[in-house]
């Protein structure tokens, strides 16, 4: 998995020097441009038309892909397996949800101009302190990255400083996301309990149910994924990225060489958490609800599965994996509602056994075989 990187030259060539990444970026940009056009411009009924449903669906996949990229950044490049990454995704989502909730204003069913409906019916008379300011878009967006980042910083600092690694780290991240899920289930927390936040009306003054907003959110997700991917690429192709890979492959040796391993780890973990937070924030307005089940430990494991299916340690593979697995889920739950878990389970087993490097690994393996055949 070690790969030599062109460490000189302009940043962009460095980042996109790898064919896979280049193809991914081109395809992503094409998608982000073409799908909105096909949705808005092409006549319904024509072959080029993309329905609203598809736009919403792919928009959702894009946010999952960003989560997968964030996860691959730490797992694929630094060997940190987080089984609690949806915690950050969820926190980002809740920050966005709080903003959207405040935008409802007095259009809630009880007509209270300040308090969201769920607070009114639990007889709360004032807004909890942490809800203040969340009606300002900029503040909410700052929280989207700040809250997951802070949690990751504290958690990572505690864990990496005392050299919690491997499965131990994986299990305590599970404990973290599980504890968050239970906490958010509690109505006293002021986040709507089990129902979470829902019934959103509009974002930045635009109605969430209008086609234009949906397309805009789609574009935002595409751009978000692109930027997230480029940030991740930038990091892994930089000098620091090589230290990360060294940590992944031989942590003790890197430490003895004089690198402050825990600092590298905390920092990459924090960045990854922030990316996950952004993914969550983009996800919420598109699905229209955020609730504690996003924090469920199983959801985190599933996110790891996306990365593994796509191919760990390539970033674009993770994004691809998120897309493939979720598309499979969408398709199978509609087409074979009674038996789809068999297919999904079999897919996971097959990928581990036959495609240890995921789908991306399959592609490069095929290419190598072709290349090997050519000379002979």
């Amino acid at each position: 998995m070690t790969r030599t990187h062109a460490n000189h030259g302009p940043v962009l060539t460095r980042m996109l020097g790898d064919t896979g990444s280049l193809i991914f970026v081109v395809v992503l940009i094409a998608l982000t441009v073409a799908i909105p056009l096909c949705n808005l411009v092409a006549e319904p009924g024509s072959a080029l038309h993309v329905s609203n449903f598809t736009v919403a669906l792919i928009g959702k996949y894009l946010t999952y892909a960003l989560l997968a990229v964030a996860l691959d950044l730490i797992w694929g490049y630094c060997g940190i397996l987080s089984l609690g990454h949806t915690a950050f995704f969820g926190l980002g989502g809740y920050a966005m949800g709080m903003y959207l909730m405040r935008q409802i204003g007095d259009r809630g069913v009880y007509g209270n101009p300040v308090l969201p409906d769920f607070m009114v019916f639990l007889n709360w008379d004032t807004l909890p302190w942490y809800w203040h300011g969340m009606d300002i878009f900029a503040v909410a967006m700052a929280m989207v990255v700040f809250v997951p980042g802070l949690l990751a910083l504290v958690f990572g600092w505690l864990a990496f400083r005392s050299r919690v690694t491997g499965v131990y780290f994986a299990i305590i991240t599970q404990a973290m996301t599980y504890a968050l899920m239970l906490a958010f289930f509690r109505n006293e927390m002021g986040f709507g309990g089990n129902n979470g936040l829902t019934d959103f009306k509009d974002i930045l003054g635009y109605s969430l149910s209008s086609d234009g907003t949906r397309v805009a959110l789609f574009v935002a997700s595409g751009v978000g994924l692109l930027i997230g991917f480029l940030i991740a690429r930038f990091i892994v192709t930089s000098r620091a990225g090589r230290v990360l890979e060294a940590i992944r492959d031989a942590e003790s040796r890197t430490r003895f060489t004089g690198y402050r391993v825990e600092l590298y780890k905390v920092w990459i973990f924090t960045i990854s958490a922030m990316l996950a937070g952004v993914a969550g924030a983009l996800y919420v307005p598109q699905v229209g609800i955020i609730n504690p089940s996003e924090f469920s430990p199983i959801a985190s494991i599933e996110a790891v599965v996306w990365v593994a299916v796509g191919g760990r340690g390539t970033l674009y593979g993770a994004a691809l994996g998120a897309g493939v697995v979720n598309f499979a889920k969408t398709w199978l739950t509609g087409a074979f509602p009674e038996i789809w878990p068999y297919a999904l389970g079999a897919l996971f087993v097959a990928v581990t056994l036959f495609l240890p490097k995921g789908i991306v690994g399959l592609v490069s393996q095929l290419r190598r075989q072709i290349r090997r055949k050519e000379p002979s």
Binding site: R161, V164, A175, L182, I301, V305, F348, T352, L353
Partner: protein, 607 residues
């Protein structure tokens, strides 16, 4: 029919008046037949008594269709034997029975009690029919019958004489409903009728049944019976019951005497009544007698409370150990597959689930032998889950050794697969696994302390499984080889250990133990496709907290997490308790990154 429908409210009123009449009649009878010299208790028993004497008359005038009301001497009770007594004078038996048709539950309770105090030839049969839900009321006029279902019809009998009263469609009748409280009252009333049985045992049983549903009628009956009672045990039981009754209804002296008599009795019933006394008498009462009474009651309550606190702590400790033993059971299989072999076995929960379903299947195969089936389910579940485990190991896991994180992915797939398999075979619904006799109910140590049998059995079972596993690992050649392989695989192979076969066996052992855990869990929780999901996270926590690769660590960690949870829970509630334990776990791992009992050595660093 419509005419009667519209008079429903009127008939309800009549029913109430009849009941009031009964109360009056009872009081009157009491005043006459009282031998114990305790008149105030009768007065206190029926507060309405004072106002009753006048009410029967208007009731009577308003009720031509139903029955003559209480107080009517030549009541419609035709063939009743008159020798049952002077107290039957003035009691309208037939009217009382007729009122059942429209009575609500409190009224029904009073009616039952009154019937038992004024029995006639068929009262016992009537009460038995009532308890079995065989009383019906005709929709058209509310008349009560005893009914026997016969196809779509009822064979009817008169509730007083038990003469056949024809046959009619079930659709024309409403059941005279009973609820559990009422059935208990009926039971007490039936017991009251048995007070005069020949056999002392029967009488004792009767007194005990009546003690559970003490009301004044029952107390009066016991008091009346006491004079003719010869058996010491029965006398003792009657005195206790009367004393308990006095706590509520006696005068001050009687109450004081009762407190004296019952001191040292920690039972719920006594405690309840004493406590009630504390509520009824204000703390700063001016009345010296009342104050004295209150002090006596308070002393008893205080003493019982002290014992309660002591036992509460014991109980919480037991709850914690019991929860812990379940965590140990669920985690111990994983301590082998994950701890010893390094496989992140996400299908562990499903292997537990398979064990629980094995228990279900065994009970289906051996209907009528609940306990035997459960005992046999233990080896069966070990084999089923063990074989599935070996299958998983041979087909999937063996290709992934040294890549622990990929075992997570593959076994996650297996877990989805197994869940759906169970859904397809057994439907998504929960299955019922019955508990054998010896695993149900309480084991009572004294009035204040009792432990649930199933938890005790499971605690013992869990320890036994643990001990067996330790023996296998420490004393058998299999255990020796497993430890050898886990410490240094290459060296072990060089020493001639067939590592492949051993891997399969070890994984099978861990899976089999998970299956055994499933049998135990089937006694406590849902047997359904999601059973495994709810234990997988806890299992991992327990193993990691204890220290991967250390069975003793798993034991200590499971038990201590259980006890910790149970001591936090009363203060914070279950949700917060769980969150606190999780945070504790995270912080603990930061302090000791390899758990309570870290494994030492080279391989431990490799994960």
């Amino acid at each position: 029919m419509d005419r009667f429908r519209t008079t429903g409210a009127a008939r309800r009123l009549i029913a109430i008046l009849v009941v009031l009449g009964i109360a009056f009649a009872t009081t009157a009878a009491m005043a006459k037949g009282d031998t114990t010299g305790d008149p105030p208790s009768a007065g206190a028993a029926t507060p309405d008594a004072q106002s009753t004497p006048d009410t029967p008359a208007p009731a009577q005038s308003a009720t031509p269709p139903v029955s003559p009301a209480a107080g009517d001497d030549d009541a419609a009770a035709p063939s009743a034997t008159d020798d049952t007594a002077p107290e039957n004078e003035g009691f309208d038996y037939a009217g009382t029975v007729a009122a059942l048709g429209e009575a609500n539950y409190p009224e029904k309770r009073r009616i039952v009690s009154a019937l038992a105090s004024h029995p006639q030839a068929h009262t016992a049969e009537l009460l038995a029919a009532f308890a079995d839900n065989r009383l019906v009321a005709r929709e058209s006029d509310g008349k009560v019958f005893v009914a026997e279902e016969n196809g779509n019809d009822y064979d009817l009998r008169d509730p007083i004489t038990f003469e056949p009263a024809g046959r009619a469609s079930t659709r024309d009748f409403d059941p005279v409903r009973t609820n559990i409280g009422l059935r208990q009252n009926i039971g007490a009333a039936q017991a009251q009728l048995k007070l005069s049985a020949e056999d002392a045992e029967t009488r004792l049983a009767a007194v005990e049944t009546m003690s559970e549903k003490l009301d004044d009628n029952a107390a009066d009956a016991m008091r009346a019976h006491r004079a003719s009672e010869t058996d010491d045990d029965v006398l003792e039981a009657i005195d206790r019951a009367l004393a308990i009754n006095d706590l509520n209804t006696g005068d001050n002296d009687a109450k004081l005497a009762a407190i004296e008599r019952l001191s040292g009795d920690n039972s719920q019933m006594v405690y309840n009544r004493l406590k009630n006394m504390l509520i009824l008498i204000p703390e700063d009462t001016a009345d010296a007698d009342q104050a004295r009474l209150r002090a006596a009651a308070a002393e008893q309550v205080e003493r019982i409370d002290w014992w309660r606190t002591v036992y509460d702590y014991l109980e919480t400790l037991f709850f914690g150990l019991s929860l812990g033993s379940i965590l140990v059971l669920a985690g111990i299989g994983l301590a082998i597959t994950f701890g010893v072999m390094g496989v992140i076995n996400m299908a562990h929960g499903e292997l537990i689930m398979l064990g629980a379903y094995t228990a279900f299947v065994m009970q289906q195969l051996l209907p009528g032998h609940i306990g035997l089936a459960l005992v046999l389910a233990v080896p069966a579940a070990f084999i089923v889950s063990g074989l599935v485990g070996i299958l998983i190991e041979r087909s999937i896991v063996q290709w992934l050794y040294g890549r622990p994180l990929e075992t997570l992915l593959a076994t996650f797939g297996v877990s989805l697969f197994l869940q759906q398999l169970v859904r397809s075979v057994f439907t998504p619904l929960n299955r019922s696994v019955a508990s054998p006799e010896w695993m149900s109910g309480l084991i009572r140590f004294n009035d204040l302390f009792a432990l649930t049998a199933n938890r005790l059995v499971i605690l013992a079972f869990s320890m036994a499984v643990f001990a067996a596993l330790i023996l296998v690992m420490q004393k058998t050649s299999l255990g020796l080889k497993v430890r050898a392989v886990s410490q240094n695989r290459d060296m072990a192979r060089a020493m001639g250990i067939r590592t492949q076969r051993l891997d399969a066996l070890t994984f099978g052992l861990g899976s089999g133990v998970a299956g055994i855990a499933g049998v135990a869990l089937s006694q406590l929780t849902n047997v359904g496709p999601n059973l495994g999901q709810s234990y997988i996270i806890d299992s991992f926590m327990v193993v990691v907290f204890g220290g991967v690769g250390n069975l003793w660590g798993t034991l200590v960690s499971g038990l201590s997490l259980g006890v910790l949870t149970k001591f936090i829970e009363p203060q914070t509630g279950a949700v917060l308790a769980k969150i606190i334990v999780l945070i504790f776990l995270i912080l603990f791992i930061q302090r000791r990154p390899r758990g309570l009992f870290p494994q030492k050595g080279r391989t431990a660093e490799g994960s």
